[in-house]
């Protein structure tokens, strides 16, 4: 039995708004084992970011709330934990990096200060030692001339370098899990590759697990061992990566995979890029049945009436579809 680090069970994170309750995450279950990279894919607004932030309880709680579910970290439910107890887990056991490196770093402090801040929080270090630790981390993420650059401000770095700094900051306390929320979406394609490579390197060096949130199927294919597909606040398919790409069972997954632009195919046969028609349903009043039914080619009466449960269709492969 693989060592399960993170086990999310039936998580429901809802938001109170003027127009009603937005059910951003509406019954999501997934798990992540030690040493693996789990991909979480879906289009914008499907709830993957909210799920990620829920793990570290980084959701603004006045509008947001945990309606139901458990987030088990090494067997311990994080939801009832107090803020102080969460602080011991943040950065030390689970770390997170975000999509926008431009705005994720505080512009008024040097990068050295910001990395040292994490270090001194979780380890008893003098100021000098913390800065030295920061230099080490910068070196680890391949930032040239770290001794000097540790005293620079975020605006003096390029986007890709800033993301490296974020990674350095996240890794500084050697957490067991890194949640990466669309880490490369805001970067150039060439830089993307570098960052993904860096994350892989960190994973190998530090024996870390990664939860990679993205909407780019190509990235998932390259880097993940297992994949979870989300749609409109729910999980629709979950599989090892080869099974997902080789044999996608849910119509949405199939649509996603088909819509990946393929240079090899398109050039020769002039295929049209396939898109999935329709739009995401409202999360304020989600439909009672399968949420993909409105856009699904194969939708049947029963799809609209009832939400299909996740059923096992292969080893480690589950689908929420009647097909």
């Amino acid at each position: 039995m693989p060592d399960t680090l993170l086990d999310i069970r039936g998580l429901k994170t809802w938001f109170k708004t003027d127009d009603g309750m937005v059910r951003a995450v509406d019954g999501v279950s997934l798990h992540l084992d030690r040493g693996e990279t789990l991909g979480v894919v879906g289009e914008s607004g499907c709830g993957k970011t909210v799920t990620a932030r829920s793990v570290l309880k980084l959701i603004d709680m006045p509008p947001g709330r945990f309606e139901a579910g458990q987030i088990l970290w090494q067997g311990r439910d994080l939801i009832p934990l107090s803020a102080e107890e969460m602080d011991k887990i943040r950065a030390r056991e689970i770390a997170i990096i975000f999509q926008e490196p431009m705005t994720s770093l505080n512009p008024v402090y040097t990068v050295g200060y910001q990395i040292a801040e994490v270090l001194s929080q979780h380890q008893a270090l003098s100021r000098k030692q913390a800065i030295e630790g920061a230099v080490e981390m910068l070196r680890l993420v391949n930032i040239p001339n770290p001794q000097k650059r540790v005293h620079d401000y975020p605006h003096q770095f390029s986007g890709g370098m800033r993301q490296r700094v974020m990674i350095a900051m996240a890794m500084s306390c050697k957490p067991k899990l890194l949640i990466a929320d669309e880490p490369t979406t805001a970067l150039d394609v060439t830089i993307q590759a570098q960052i993904l490579e860096l994350m892989q390197e960190m994973k190998d060096k530090l024996g870390m697990s990664i939860m990679l949130i993205t909407h780019a199927m190509g990235v998932v294919a390259e880097t993940c061992q297992r994949v979870v597909v989300m749609y409109a606040g729910k999980v629709v398919e979950e599989a090892p990566v080869e099974a997902l790409f080789g044999n996608p069972r849910h119509p949405y997954t199939q649509g996603l995979i088909r819509s990946i632009p393929r240079v090899d195919r398109g050039a020769g046969r002039k295929e049209r890029l396939e898109a999935i028609p329709g739009t995401v349903p409202s999360l304020l009043n989600p439909p009672v049945g399968c949420r993909f039914a409105a856009r699904c080619k194969h939708a049947m009466d029963i799809c609209v009436r009832e939400m299909p449960p996740l059923k096992e269709v292969g080893p480690g492969h589950r689908v929420a579809c009647v097909l």
């Binding site: 009672v288 039914a293 409105a294 009436r305």
Partner: protein, 318 residues
């Protein structure tokens, strides 16, 4: 996050399904209705609108109903507290405070409104020119705005009144002269914020595609501004305008309070307070009522301005 398309494109919603709420009533989505809805939720703003309405009514219609003259001197009943004959008491000449406040209110409010109009028209014009022309005209206008912003308003106001009071009196009569001067100067020192708002709106919108489309269809810059850009800028300008009214009322009251505003026989609220301040120990009602008049008017305007900001220029926290 949430789209608002109907639930299903292909199937009808199941009849009698209790779990799904019926599809939301498709109200015609209009910005004004949205704005009104948001304004309504700001309870203090709604309440203030009511109170301000009462004040406006009182000031406009009051003197017609409460027909006690404002300058009937009666030393026998001077400095009396509130009574049936004089609901707000009398001043040191026995004049009825309520009647004076009602009358003076017209002027104070008129000054506020007029000054706001001056500030907004100037601001919209200058801001539009600056935003549309770019380059050196824009730079010059903005430098001018910065310059005006660093001028201390009250001292300058006082200075201008000090220097020009007599000559204007000759042309427009004592009240008219002071009115024009006060309105012109207060408004003339408040156009900068509005100009900046309008300019910022123009700069952000003018590069958008629909303006390019209008340009391609042959719309002149003036037409572009008026038909397409200004409606978008309207929200923040309205909010700024509301605040301008409150600021203008305070400015005029301050002037009158310093004895440098309207002629002494015109009972603007600031002037009444000026008269009242020396006898505040023996006749507090006089000062309190006049001060309260200014306070409540300004307070309600400020709350309304806040409500308008929520309605027209919202920054969504939740």
């Amino acid at each position: 996050m949430a789209g608002s398309t109907p639930v299903s494109l292909t199937a009808d919603p199941p009849a009698g399904a209790a779990a799904t709420a019926a599809p939301r009533k498709q109200v015609r989505f209009s910005p004004t209705r949205e704005a009104w809805r948001r304004f309504r939720r700001h309870r203090l703003a709604m309440f203030s609108s009511f109170v301000l309405g009462v004040i406006l009514l009182a000031v406009l219609v009051g003197p017609l109903i409460w027909r006690v003259p404002i300058n009937e001197i009666d030393f026998a009943s001077k400095l009396e507290g509130p009574s049936w004959a004089h609901p707000l008491g009398t001043d040191d000449l026995g004049q009825d405070v309520l009647a004076r406040l009602l009358y003076g209110g017209r002027i104070s409010l008129a000054v506020g409104l007029a000054a706001m109009l001056v500030a907004c028209s100037l601001g919209v014009m200058i801001g539009a020119i600056a935003g549309m022309s770019r380059g050196s005209i824009d730079a010059v206008l903005m430098w001018l705005a910065d310059l005006f912003l660093s001028l201390p308003a009250l001292p300058l106001l006082l200075l201008i009144i000090y220097l020009f009071r007599d000559s204007l009196k000759g042309v427009f009569g004592p009240e008219g002269g002071v009115f024009i001067m006060v309105v012109a100067v207060i408004g003339g020192l408040r156009w900068m914020q509005v100009a900046r708002l309008v300019r910022a709106q123009i700069l952000s919108i003018r590069e958008k595609e629909f303006i390019e489309a209008a340009r391609a269809l042959g719309a002149s810059p003036g037409r572009q501004v008026v038909r397409h850009i200004l409606p978008n800028a309207l929200g923040p300008v309205i909010v700024a305008g509301t605040i301008d009214v409150a600021a203008a009322i305070i400015a005029e009251s301050t002037l009158s309070f310093l004895g440098l505003g309207f002629p002494p026989d015109i009972p603007t609220w600031g002037r009444v307070l000026f008269d009242a301040k020396d006898t505040i120990d023996i006749a507090p009602h006089w000062a309190l009522f006049s001060g309260a008049a200014i306070f409540f008017t300004v307070l309600t305007i400020n709350f309304i301005g806040d409500g308008l900001r929520d309605a027209l220029d919202p920054r969504r926290v939740l």
